[in-house]
Amino acid sequence: MLLKNTWNELIKILAKPRSYIGFGALTLLIGVILVAMKADGKSFISFVTASFEQTLSFNGEILNGNLMAFVILQMLIIHVPLLVALVTGDLVSGEAAMGTLRMMATKPISRSAILGSKLLAGAIYTFLLTLWMAFMAYGIGQWMFGAGDLIVLNNDGLVIIPADDIMWRYFYGFGLAYLSLLAVATMSICFSVFSDNSIGPIVSTMAVIILFTIIGSLDVSSFNSLQPFLLTTHMSSWRSLFEMPVPVDDILNSIYILLFHIIGFAAISFWRFNKKDINT
């Protein structure tokens, strides 16, 4: 029953035009970035290496598909959650607004199964969006720019990773990105359970992400104790996969925190949905 209902939920997601906004926006954004880099990527590279170029010369193809995928993931990981929330924030509250939620609840399926199927459908949609982002960033990037060693900037300077040591990092990197987006999706579904209109959960999710991002980026000592627990802080944890050596314990810590968020939001959603007085 759960799987059948999940399939129904997926059909409902696919039937809504807004579900394609995310894919369209990603295609356009990544396309623009790739074309811009193809046209004028050298100046971007000089920004990266300028501090060293007085004494050192960097030889080889720095501007390659691996760098493009890194730049795109870095640029979009904060913005893609908004595209996810656009669909997942509507999953429960949209039906409440249309009046179909009440009808669903009269069917011989438990409320937990209804919500479970919506969560699963949201997770599948998020996965497809992440997969599309990976295809556009990594696949098209490699096709346009070719492979090569990856130069990564971090707080300590430059890390140069050989080309044959990169693919597994992206595999896990996009996996971590998916986990972050899944946490956002569950948060927006959680907000959706509490609301009877579509706009509220979507805007609330956006507001939380913006607020957490600002708190996370401010170098203020009073926020330092808060920052390690914020969802948005761990959305950039995929970057640690591009360190040498890879800080496995730190990455696992991020995974645990993201899973805690996912389970926490899902648990609140189930608790609320089972007690919810469905009037519409």
């Binding site: 140069i160 980026s217 360190e243 800080p247």
Partner: protein, 225 residues
């Protein structure tokens, strides 16, 4: 009269040293100029503050007077100064003056220190110190002071191509400027900037050069990017 004799003696001794220095440098430059082009395989081991890179392999190509190309599968870091610029500078004999500045023992070899000073006040290379093995006419070490890139110290070791003055191992010691990334660009929850206290300011790049192919002819078009 006695004072005048001492003055003449000192002046003569300086002139003699100057001539010695010039003739030794001429021998070095003549040896360099015997090589019109070469290609070689090179293993690059860079230990530079703020840059983490594994050893890489590349192929280098040189053609007189200043054509130089690095071909590598991946990213290879090399010093900006010290390859072609020194050769090109030393080959233009009217652009500098040279003085003898002492001797130094480098790994058992008694070397003569030649200080090469640029005549032109706008020259990119301001000063070169060369520690030359006068018996084999080989540069054992050098220190290049440039207008824009600071100091580069270079140590050379020779093997099969010593007769052409081409080293088998080169160690560059370069100055590296401090580098601070904006937080927004390098945001990583697992990384915090280290304190500036004990950061190194110099880095080394070691080159292990093998499989030299000397004076086999390389077309100019090969060096066009």
């Amino acid at each position: 009269m006695k004072l005048f004799s001492i003055y003449i003696l000192i002046l003569f001794s300086f002139c003699a040293h100057g001539q010695d220095a010039q003739s030794l440098l001429n021998k070095v430059v003549n040896k360099m100029e015997g090589v019109t082009d070469y290609s070689a395989n090179v293993q690059i081991i860079a230990d530079i503050p703020l840059i983490k890179i594994l050893p890489s392999n590349a192929k280098i190509y040189y053609k007189k007077p200043d054509k130089f190309k690095v071909v590598s599968k991946g990213i290879a870091i090399l010093p900006k100064q010290g390859f072609t610029d020194m050769n090109a500078f030393l080959s233009s004999r009217d652009k500098y003056m040279v003085v003898f500045a002492g001797t130094k023992n480098i790994e058992g070899v008694e070397t003569s220190l030649l200080t090469v000073i640029a005549n032109d006040s706008d020259s990119e290379i301001i000063l070169i110190k060369l520690w030359v093995d006068p018996l084999q006419v080989l540069i054992m070490a050098s220190e290049i002071t440039t207008r824009s890139s600071g100091n580069v110290k270079i140590d050379y070791k020779y093997n099969l191509q010593a007769k052409n003055g081409l080293p088998s191992n080169i160690k560059f010691t370069v100055d590296v400027k401090e580098f601070k990334m904006p937080k927004s660009f390098s945001s990583n929850p697992h990384k915090t900037s280290k304190s500036k206290g004990n950061k190194r300011k110099t880095g080394t790049i070691k080159l292990n050069i093998s499989n030299y192919k000397v004076n086999q002819g390389i077309a100019n078009s090969f060096f066009v990017k």
